[in-house]
Symmetry: none
Subunit: 237 residues, 2 copies
DNA sequence: ACACCAAGGTTGTATATACAAGAATATACC
DNA sequence: GGTATATTCTTGTATATACAACCTTGGTGT
């Protein structure tokens, strides 16, 4: 038996996903929702509150509650995987494996992975989608010395990140975030009508053994952003 | 006047930070807290709920509420100011003050600063240059209640960030990073020949008193990258 | 025409209450 | 001793109510 507030959350999410309630549109007031779902205002309110925390809705005292502009959001502070983040938003994640093979390391990648120039490394290329819409193009290079069975994976039930986390637990990571224009191929893969700015994250991850992987994650600027919250603790602790 | 649940949150946080309540230790039950703080159980419960969402506490039905183990992941991005970063690279930082005045808060800004819509706030606009080349367009809104003397500053020897850090020491910050196309005005100010992708950072900063400032920092994608390093400590015990 | 105020609708805070569900402990029973 | 069972304490869900704070709108008075 799912709780009422959960049922209300899903009903509201559903309305939004199916386009009944559009971006910036006002959703029914707490009292109206209470009446519609046959519950008290407090229960309807709880559903709204949790959706606001998830970034699905925005509220303003005295004004009303509105559908938030949709944009997937990744976390800056923690290394999370995109599938998790998408599922946490209550959306559907899917991915297509575009490429998975052994290649010779080019200069940039060789340096990033700390392997000799031209040595054999593994490369995978995946397109991640949120509710069927492309949000991330993942171009990843993997150190075969640390992850010898990488090519044997299917990546249909597990993302590369999830697999790597199991095989070689991450101890360090380095990020580089920049705004770039997509190449024509990238633009086509991300299903962008026009060449809009993209957010690229280049991520190097280490396990205790050394550099595990180097990934270039490309996101359409209109559909993805990075968020981070920082709390400064009092210096006493 | 701060709300009761907020006061309770701070009291609990304080207990934890000062080591009175240790990791994994059980905190008083909701009923006990209600009695201690002279409020209803629902109010005490709300305080706990929000602290659980912040990761300070963990709850388990039937068992109790406990102090969460401290986070092992360090922050990935320090709040730095652009002038420092530039000087650290051995380059020369300069800035032009483009605008500094009182304005009426538009909807988006009003929400970000948690002030009533249309109320008077301060706005500043600066262009930061590295060796004479524009690297950041800083569009900042400041809460006058917390920083009454903001307009009296010259910002020729001190950046707004530096000034704010002194006047209202920061306790929290929230970041949103996205890739956007610059407007014509922005493109001209940043001295971009073509409309190249830009990296925009929207930053909200809090002091203990509340939201201090909301800033939109726009950087040319070709001249600015955001880096971050993360180290995972061994999570023993 | 303009400034001001009142009314109504919205979200925000706070309380009192009730029962459900989970977990540990004490108790009764065999 | 071992096994149920009952009790009690905890968090989880749900409701009804009251008032505060905020925003918009419309009317009122000047």
């Amino acid at each position: 038996m799912i709780p009422k507030f959960e049922a209300i959350k899903r009903a509201i999410s559903s309305e939004i996903e199916q386009g009944q309630w559009r971006e910036h549109q006002q959703v029914p007031s707490e009292n109206a929702l209470a009446e519609r779902f046959g519950c008290s205002r407090m229960t309807a309110r709880r559903a709204l509150t949790e959706l606001v925390e998830q970034g699905v809705l925005v509220r303003s005292q005295g004004l009303g509650t509105f559908v938030a502009p949709f944009k997937s959001q990744g976390s800056m502070m923690a290394i999370r995987n995109i599938a998790e983040e998408i599922r946490e938003r209550g959306h559907q994640h899917s991915a297509q494996l575009l490429l998975l093979k052994q290649v010779a390391a080019e200069a940039e990648v060789a340096i990033a992975l700390s392997v000799p120039n031209g040595s054999a490394i593994f490369r995978s290329c995946l397109l991640h989608q949120e509710n069927g819409q492309p949000v991330q193009l993942e171009d990843r290079y993997v150190n075969p010395a640390l992850v010898p069975d990488y090519l044997a994976q299917g990546f249909d039930r597990q993302t590369p990140h999830e697999y790597l986390s199991q095989v070689a637990p991450l101890t360090q990571a380095h990020h580089l975030v920049e705004a770039v224009a997509p190449s024509e191929v990238q633009q086509r893969l991300l299903a962008l009508a026009t060449p809009e700015p993209c957010l690229q994250i280049c991520r190097r991850t280490w396990s205790s053994q050394g550099v595990v992987s180097y990934a270039r994650l490309l996101h359409p600027g209109s559909r993805f952003r990075l968020g981070g919250h920082l709390m400064v603790e009092s210096t006493s602790r």
